[in-house]
C-alpha cells in the first residue's frame, strides 16, 4: 500500500479517565484479549501498511510493553515496521506536558516525517473499534484527487456526543464545508468523524512546517477551517459497524454489545483474512471445572472457571472461585475472584483480587470500577 500509518495513542483519554489513569487510550483493554490500539493496528496491517508510527505523550509504559518489537503484527521489520515515538524532549528545555492535539503531536515528530517515500499518510486515533479495509478509503481519496479525506459515519447525535467528537458538514459531492468540535447546538443526523484520515504526504509535511512557523495548534481550526475553500477536503462515509468509547458507562455498554449483538461481534472478529491481531501471551487453554456454569460470555485463554459466569467478559488468566456468581462483569487480566463471591456490573482492572465471600454490585448505568492491583 502506498501509505504509512500514524497512530495517536493518547488522544481522547479524558473520555475514560478511570481506565487511562495508568495507560494510554491505545492500551485500554477491550474484548477479552485486545487493547484498543489492536483494532487500529490490525486495520492498517490487514490493509497492507507496513510502516507505522505510534505517537504518544505520557503513560506509555503499558503501550510499549504491549507492542514490544511489533512481531505479533508482523511489524518487526528491517525497513519500516513499527516505531513508538515518545515526546521529543531536549536537555535544558522545559517540557510543558506535551501535545494535546493531532497537530501538536505531529509537530513533535516533525523530523520523523521528513523521509517518507510513500505518497500518503493514514492517521488514526485509538478510540475506534472497527474492522475496516483502509484500501477503500485510500482509493476514494486518490480518485477524488483530495488533499485530506476524513472517514465519517452518519449518526443521530441527539443521544449526545463524546466530548472529543467532531461533526462534519459536507456538500452533496462529499466536499467538506464545515467542521465543529462537539457542538452543543447540533441535533439530528450528522456526519461524525471516525478519526481516521488520509492526507497527502507532501501536504502533511507543509502543514507541519507551517504550523511550527505560525504556532498553529489545531488541524481542524487552524488548517482545515482556514483553507477549506482552496483545498479539496473530503469525507468518506463508512457504513459498517463502528463503536467508539465516550465514557466508562459507554465502555461497559459497548463491551456488553460484544456478547448480545452477534452482528457486531462478527463484523469485528468474523471477517475472513482480516483477523484482529494482538500480543501473544502464551496462556494455557481455559479450564472449566465440574462445578462451572457458564452462559453468554466471552472468555479468553488461561482462565479457570470454578463458579457461575453469566454475561461476562473474562480477560486472560482470570480465576473464578468455587461457588462464586459473576454476572455482567468485565474482569481484566489475572483478576482473581474468590469463593462464594457475588458480583454484578463490576469492571476490575488488572491483577485485582476479590476475596472470598465479598458482594459487589454496580448498575449498567454506573458500573463499579476496581483499580489495578487492588485487593478487596
Amino acid at each position: 500500500m502506498n501509505a504509512i500509518g500514524i497512530i495517536f495513542a493518547n488522544l481522547h483519554e479524558r473520555n475514560i479517565p478511570e481506565l487511562t489513569r495508568i495507560r494510554t487510550v491505545g492500551s485500554v483493554p477491550f474484548g477479552c484479549r485486545y487493547r484498543l490500539i489492536d483494532f487500529t493496528l490490525s486495520n492498517m496491517v490487514n490493509s497492507g501498511i507496513t510502516d507505522i508510527r505510534v505517537v504518544t505523550q505520557y503513560n506509555y509504559q503499558s503501550l510499549m510493553d504491549h507492542i514490544g518489537s511489533g512481531k505479533d503484527w508482523d511489524l518487526a521489520r528491517r525497513s519500516g515496521g513499527i516505531k513508538i515515538l515518545p515526546p521529543n524532549m531536549r536537555y535544558n528545555q522545559n517540557y510543558m506536558g506535551g501535545a494535546h492535539s493531532r497537530l501538536e503531536s505531529l509537530m513533535g515528530i516533525a523530523a520523523s516525517l521528513n523521509h517518507i517515500k510513500e505518497d500518503y499518510v493514514i492517521m488514526a486515533d485509538c478510540d475506534g473499534i472497527c474492522n475496516i479495509d483502509l484500501d477503500d478509503l485510500l482509493r476514494d481519496h486518490i480518485a477524488n484527487n483530495a488533499d485530506i479525506t476524513m472517514m465519517t459515519k452518519r449518526l443521530n447525535i441527539n443521544g449526545g456526543l463524546s466530548e472529543t467528537a467532531t461533526i462534519i458538514e459536507a456538500d452533496e459531492s462529499g466536499r467538506i464545508t464545515d467542521l465543529a468540535m462537539n457542538p452543543k447546538y447540533a441535533e439530528g443526523e450528522h456526519d461524525v468523524a471516525l478519526n481516521i484520515t488520509v492526507i497527502n504526504t507532501k501536504y502533511l509535511q507543509n502543514i507541519v512546517q507551517e504550523a511550527i512557523a505560525h504556532g498553529f495548534t489545531s488541524l481542524t481550526r487552524d488548517i482545515m477551517m482556514r483553507n477549506k475553500e482552496e483545498r479539496n477536503y473530503r469525507i468518506y462515509r463508512y457504513e459498517g459497524a463502528f463503536a467508539t468509547i465516550s465514557s466508562l458507562e459507554d465502555y461497559f455498554a459497548t463491551s456488553m454489545e460484544l456478547i448480545t449483538n452477534t452482528a457486531f461481534r462478527s463484523a469485528l472478529f468474523g471477517i475472513d483474512r482480516r483477523p484482529v491481531l494482538t500480543k501473544v501471551r502464551n496462556s494455557a487453554p481455559t479450564r472449566y471445572t465440574d462445578a462451572s456454569v457458564v452462559k453468554n460470555s466471552l472468555i479468553a485463554d488461561g482462565c479457570t472457571v470454578d463458579g457461575t459466569v453469566e454475561n461476562c467478559i473474562l480477560f486472560r488468566g482470570v480465576k473464578i472461585g468455587r461457588g462464586a456468581v459473576v454476572k455482567n462483569c468485565i474482569l481484566y487480566q489475572d483478576t482473581v475472584v474468590g469463593e462464594n463471591v457475588f458480583m454484578n456490573c463490576v469492571i476490575s482492572d488488572k491483577n485485582t483480587v476479590i476475596r472470598d465471600g465479598n458482594v459487589l454490585a454496580g448498575h449498567p448505568s454506573k458500573p463499579y470500577f476496581i483499580g489495578k492491583n487492588q485487593m478487596l
Binding site: R265, T278, I299
Partner: protein, 405 residues
C-alpha cells in the same frame, strides 16, 4: 562465525507415528495437536528454552510440511536467534548420493556437520513424541557430576508394564551395567525415556563406527547404547520423576489429553515457572452461548459453544452447535459439531464437520476411541461405532454401506 555452545540439542522428529493412524496420515507425529492449543513438539522445545538450551536441530523426514511451517523461525519458543536457535534438518543430497534417515543414529550421523559448527562439549538427544516437563539443565549437571560418557534419563514404571520399555539395570550409584530392550522378565523398573546426553567427541566416534558397520540398524537403543555398554563406557541413569507420557497410540494420546482435566489435573499446564509455548493463530475469544453447558473441560480461543461439552479438550476455533453433545473427547482446531450431533470417546482431527444428528463413538468400558480424520464431512445422521478409525477412504466405504440412520 559460530559461537561455541556447551550443549547442542538434537530433536528426532522424523517419525511417522503409524499407530496414530489417520492423525498422522498427512502430518508428522511431533506436529500432532495436543492439549487444546499445543502440538507434541511444543513440550520438548519449551523444555529446551526453559532449561536454557538455545541451539536445537530438529530432524524431520516424514510429512514435514506442517511441522516445518509450525517451527518456522522458532519465534514462539524464543529460538529465533542469530547465534544458535532452532534449525530444521531434513535429509539432504550429498556428494556421494542422497540418503533418507535410516535410523535414529543415522539421522544424527548425517548431521554431524551441524553439531560440529557449534563445537559442543555435550549433545542432548530428544524425541518428539512425549508429553512431559523436564529440566535438561539439571540432567546435564548430573551428567557432569557423574563424569559420565553418556547419561540416560529413566522413569520408574510399574513392573507389570516394564516389558514395554527399554529397561536400564543400574547399580545404587546410578551406573548402568545392563540394558534390555523390552525384556520379557524385567530385572528393574527403570525405563528409558529416550533422552540421552553424550559427550560430543565420543558420540561422534561411535556414530562413525556404527555407520561403517553394515550389520547395524543405526539405532540408538539397538546399537549405540549396547555398544557403549559393551565397551565399558561410563553410563548413568538419571532418575526423572513426574508426568511423562508416550503419546504414540490413540489410547495414550486420548488419555494424556484427559489427564489435563478434572479438579486436580495430573499434568499442569498453568505453571508460570515452566510455561509451554506454542505458535498461536489470531482467533477471537471463546464465546459461550445462552444454553451452553460446559463441565470439566478445557478449550481455547475461537471456540463457539452453544451445546453441551463435558470432560473434553477443545482446540481453537471449534464450533459446538445448539443441542450438540461432546463428551470424553478431543476435538481439534476448527472442527464443527453441528446441531444434535453426539461425539463421545472420540478424537476428531482438525477442520472436520460432524453434520447434524451424526453419532460418533460411544461410551465403553475398554476405552475404545473413535478417530475421525482431518478435513472430512461426516454426513448427517451417520453413526460411527466406538473405536472406529475413519479416514477419507473409510468414510466413503461407510457412505456406500448406507450406514445412515
Amino acid at each position: 562465525m559460530f559461537q561455541k555452545k556447551e550443549c547442542v540439542v538434537m530433536l528426532l522428529a522424523g517419525g511417522q507415528g503409524s499407530r496414530l493412524y489417520t492423525l498422522t496420515e498427512s502430518t508428522a507425529k511431533p506436529a500432532v495437536q495436543f492439549g487444546g492449543k499445543y502440538r507434541i513438539i511444543d513440550f520438548p522445545l519449551s523444555n529446551c528454552i526453559n532449561s536454557g538450551l538455545d541451539t536445537v536441530g530438529v530432524l524431520t523426514q516424514y510429512q514435514p510440511l506442517v511441522l516445518n511451517e509450525y517451527i518456522g523461525n522458532g519465534q514462539p519458543w524464543d529460538l529465533d536467534r542469530s547465534r544458535g536457535g532452532v534449525m530444521v534438518l531434513p535429509p539432504y543430497q550429498g556428494k556421494n548420493g542422497a540418503d533418507w534417515y535410516s535410523g535414529t543414529a543415522n539421522a544424527i550421523y548425517q548431521n554431524l556437520n551441524f553439531i560440529d559448527r557449534y563445537d559442543p562439549d555435550y549433545v542432548l538427544i530428544l524425541s518428539g513424541d512425549h508429553i512431559y516437563k523436564m529440566d535438561y539443565a539439571a540432567m546435564l549437571d548430573y551428567h557432569k557430576k557423574m563424569n559420565a560418557d553418556c547419561t540416560i534419563s529413566v522413569l520408574e514404571v510399574p513392573l507389570s508394564e516394564a516389558s514395554r520399555f527399554g529397561i536400564m539395570n543400574a547399580d545404587e550409584n546410578g551406573k548402568i551395567f545392563e540394558f534390555e530392550e523390552k525384556p520379557k522378565q524385567p530385572k528393574s523398573t527403570k525405563a528409558s525415556m529416550g533422552i540421552y546426553i553424550f559427550n560430543a567427541k565420543l558420540l561422534k566416534e561411535y556414530l562413525i563406527a556404527d555407520e561403517n558397520d553394515p550389520n547395524s540398524s543405526k539405532d540408538f537403543g539397538k546399537n549405540i547404547i549396547p555398544k557403549m555398554l559393551d565397551d565399558g563406557k561410563s553410563m548413568y541413569a538419571y532418575p526423572f520423576s513426574g508426568y511423562w507420557k508416550d503419546v504414540g497410540t490413540i489410547a495414550s494420546l486420548w488419555e494424556a489429553n484427559m489427564d489435563l482435566l478434572g479438579d486436580k489435573p495430573e499434568f499442569d499446564l498453568y505453571d508460570k515457572n515452566w510455561r509451554i509455548f506454542s505458535r498461536t493463530s489470531a482467533r477471537p475469544p471463546q464465546f459461550v452461548g445462552e444454553d451452553a453447558k460446559i463441565h470439566g473441560s478445557m478449550m481455547s480461543e475461537g471456540c463457539e459453544i452453544y451445546g453441551c461439552v463435558e470432560n473434553s479438550v477443545l482446540f481453537d476455533g471449534v464450533y459446538v452447535a445448539p443441542g450438540a453433545v461432546v463428551r470424553d473427547s478431543v476435538i481439534m482446531s476448527g472442527t464443527r459439531i453441528e446441531a444434535g450431533a453426539r461425539v463421545e470417546y472420540s478424537i476428531v482431527d482438525a477442520d472436520t464437520v460432524i453434520c447434524a444428528g451424526a453419532v460418533i463413538g460411544a461410551k465403553n468400558e475398554e476405552d475404545k476411541i473413535a478417530v475421525i480424520g482431518t478435513k472430512l464431512t461426516v454426513p448427517a445422521g451417520m453413526t460411527i461405532a466406538a473405536g472406529e478409525m475413519v479416514n477419507e477412504a473409510k468414510l466413503s466405504e461407510l457412505k456406500e454401506g448406507g450406514n445412515i440412520a
